[in-house]
């Protein structure tokens, strides 16, 4: 009987977290960008500009929906929704602390990667249906990029799964009780994190929406809420991949014990999570965008062989021990 209220509460908490987090991340991104360029970033709305994203969001909601001429209407309307829904669903199995988890699925890791790879479908739908050459090129790039980077990503995760013998995220966190996996698997961590940056289409791998080449890539023709959903999905996706990295390599909610550790472990989880988010922003404001051939070379010629070698070495070492 407790299932339904628990579900309702989980939905509320997850959606609230997504909305708040989206606003906060946009603000954080602009502030980090500002300080890395020795500016202050937004300062006008509210103290130190903290209400800037809220005001921007209200503006986006109030904007007119302008469908372009000769679009593929069902796909055009569905694309932002299909972009947003999987990243929300991924929160079902993310363990924020020992007790703060909607459901601990025994295939949790698989669910996250399955949902993560749906993003590329929505990006391709958006680019295809928009009847715009920039959108289409963005969509093509997004597909080839996603294909290239999912392979080393999954290979690097496989070595973790070999070590823990489970796909449940909670058990993976429990398995790194004294020492987090990053100590044993630094190469896998590096590969996984690089692939995460590429999967979320962030600079230096932001080819699908390269502003200087493709105006806005796949979401060129979206305005108002359609664009807002893409934007929110992008930032939520960042949190999902960073949370997955935290769970897989940084020990999840483990940290110095606090009172009510079963719930307050979320503090450590969020600290690690936002540290990774900061690193991703740090990447974005440091590196210029790579070319498409460099992008694919990096994946197929460097990351995939490295991940394979890492997997084989892990398997051999585990067999010997």
């Amino acid at each position: 009987m407790i299932v339904l209220p628990r579900l309702a509460l989980s939905i509320l908490m997850v959606l609230g977290f997504i909305a708040l987090n989206g606003m906060m991340l946009v603000y954080m991104e602009r502030k980090v960008a500002g300080h890395m360029q020795r500016r202050l970033g937004p300062m006008e709305v509210g103290p130190h500009g903290i209400l800037q994203t809220l005001v921007d969001g209200i503006k986006l909601i109030g904007k007119q929906y302008i469908p372009p001429y000769k679009i593929d209407r069902p796909l055009y309307l569905l694309a932002p929704v299909i972009c947003f829904v999987p990243v929300v669903l991924a929160f079902i199995t993310l363990p924020f602390s020992e007790k703060l988890q909607v459901r601990d699925l025994n295939v949790g890791l698989l669910v996250i990667f399955a949902l993560g790879s749906m993003t590329v479908l929505s990006l391709f739908m958006a680019g295809w249906s928009s009847n715009n050459k920039y959108s289409l090129i963005g969509a093509f790039r997004s597909v080839s990029q996603s294909l290239a980077y999912e392979i080393p990503m999954l290979l690097s995760v496989l070595s973790i799964v070999l070590m823990t013998n489970t796909l449940s995220l909670r058990e993976i966190v429990e398995a790194q009780s004294p020492i987090p996996h990053i100590v044993f698997q630094p190469v896998a961590f590096l590969i996984f994190f690089i692939c995460c940056v590429a999967e979320t289409n962030r600079a230096p791998f932001d080819l699908p929406e390269a502003e200087s080449e493709l105006t806005a890539g796949f979401h060129t023709e979206y305005s108002g809420m359609g664009f807002a959903l893409f934007f929110l999905a992008e930032y939520t996706n960042i949190v999902v991949v960073c949370a997955t990295t935290t769970v897989l390599f940084l020990g999840g909610w483990k940290g110095i014990p606090l009172p009510f550790m079963q719930y307050t472990g979320v503090v450590w989880f969020l600290i690690k999570l936002y540290l990774l988010v900061f690193v991703m922003m740090w990447f974005r404001w440091t590196y210029p965008r790579v070319r498409i051939d460099q992008l694919l070379n990096l994946s197929w010629k460097v990351l995939t062989p490295l991940a394979l070698i890492n997997l084989v070495v892990t398997a051999v070492v585990l067999k010997i021990i």
Binding site: V32, H35, M36, Q37, R38, R39, L40, M43, W282, F283, W285, T286, Y287, V302
Partner: protein, 173 residues
């Protein structure tokens, strides 16, 4: 072997890049929050022209001779003055040499000076055409105009760029 070298040197350069941005992240801000914070204007800054404030009389020094309007290469200055008139003023009040001194033939009262004057009606600058060359300032026989330090010169319509220097002077003083 070359491939491995490339990977290693590439990784090093990536880390060096991260170092540069994080150093910038913790260094002080280089920008100014413009409408609220303003940096000092350099002395050589050229705003639009304005009248020199005469410290003795508190009026503009302009004698409405129109030399500036003639010198202006873009014809952006309009000067209008009333017809010439003779003014009798107490001697001490004239702080600067009279515009055109006429040695009066008649007996004049001691302590007074008579001079020809041409009171200024209109001095208008069309700033949209002005190239801030400064020729008007150089030719002015009375040194009556100078560059101002005004920099908020954006306007909403073409009329906003027409500046009435006489009104402006009165408003300021």
């Amino acid at each position: 072997m070359r491939f491995i070298n490339e990977v290693i040197s590439g990784s090093y350069s990536l880390i060096a890049g991260l170092g540069i941005t994080i150093k910038a992240f913790f260094s002080p801000i280089a920008t100014v929050q413009y409408p609220r914070e303003v940096i000092d204007i350099t002395p050589s800054y050229r705003g639009h022209i304005e009248f020199v404030h005469d410290l003795v009389t508190g009026k503009p020094k302009c004698i409405s001779c129109g030399t500036c309007a003639m010198a202006c290469p873009s014809n952006c200055i309009t000067v209008e003055g009333e017809p010439l008139e003779i003014k009798r003023e107490p001697f001490h009040a004239t702080g600067w040499p009279p515009a055109i001194s006429i040695p009066s033939e008649k007996k004049k009262a001691p302590g007074y000076v008579e001079r020809l004057e041409r009171p200024l009606i209109l001095f208008e600058l069309d700033f949209a055409k002005c190239s801030l060359c400064g020729l008007c300032i150089e030719v002015c026989p009375e040194n009556a105009i100078q560059f101002s330090k005004v920099y908020n010169l954006a306007g909403y319509c073409r009329q906003d760029s027409r500046i009435d220097l006489k009104n402006r002077f009165e408003e300021i003083s």
